[in-house]
Symmetry: C2
Subunit: 112 residues, 2 copies
DNA sequence: AAAGTATGTAAGATGTTGCTTAAACACTTA
DNA sequence: TAAGTGTTTAAGCAACATCTTACATACTTT
């Protein structure tokens, strides 16, 4: 999870993940989408993503094709979802408590 | 989202988030849980989390109480879930294609 | 108001990250 | 096998993150 979240913390790498989400994309084609940074920079990002097991690589002749490996996100998603939902349900609970406390109030509607 | 994901990329900060997920916890109590790092280090992590809007702070007398602010995770969760699920459904689709291709095979069951 | 308790801020050391340019590698085609 | 194409590796550097110690702030209690 640590590697995955560190990898995903970088905006360029997130953009790469979006790019390779639905189909294989070659390193060159990926690099084309980031004219502001050099090819080697993109290559390093790809290495980081591969090391974090967030992408799969397929070598075909000259080229290397990258593709999202969604399983690599599993732990990170689970962690964030747990944080998110567990706490949202707590908020919901407290909202109910609040409502109970003020039973009969006239302005409970716009509380959030 | 950027701030949230960068904040969450650090293991200490993730541990702090777990700590303040279900209840308010004072800065001191949080710091106690991390004997390996100094109090100011924890304080800085708390500042980072607050800046990323991942925690709320309540001042009460001497102390400051921190608590998870789950809304701050919304964008990050959405991003990761989108990556995760969209791609998983693609895998599922391909598995179906695979199955269709091999219609009549006897060992399609344990393919995953 | 002085001393005590809880916490944050500042400054600086150290390690890590992300970039660039130059060079190397790997495969393809003439 | 030599030249061409696609891509990665290496080395070095600037920017950033995280830690520490020392100090400052803000409340509380005596």
């Amino acid at each position: 999870m640590d590697d995955a979240l560190r990898a995903v913390a970088d905006p360029t790498r997130r953009a790469i993940l979006v790019l390779v989400r639905d189909r294989e994309v070659s390193a060159g084609e990926i690099a084309e989408r980031f004219p502001e940074i050099s090819r080697p920079a993109v290559s390093q990002h790809l290495r980081t993503l591969a090391a974090a097991r967030l992408v799969d690589v397929r070598r075909a002749g000259n080229r290397r094709f990258y593709r999202l490996r969604p399983e690599g996100l599993a732990e990170a998603v689970t962690f964030l979802e747990t944080m998110w939902s567990a706490s949202l349900s707590r908020l919901q609970y407290e909202a109910e408590q609040e409502e109970r406390t003020h039973t009969g109030d006239q302005d409970t509607k716009g509380s959030l």
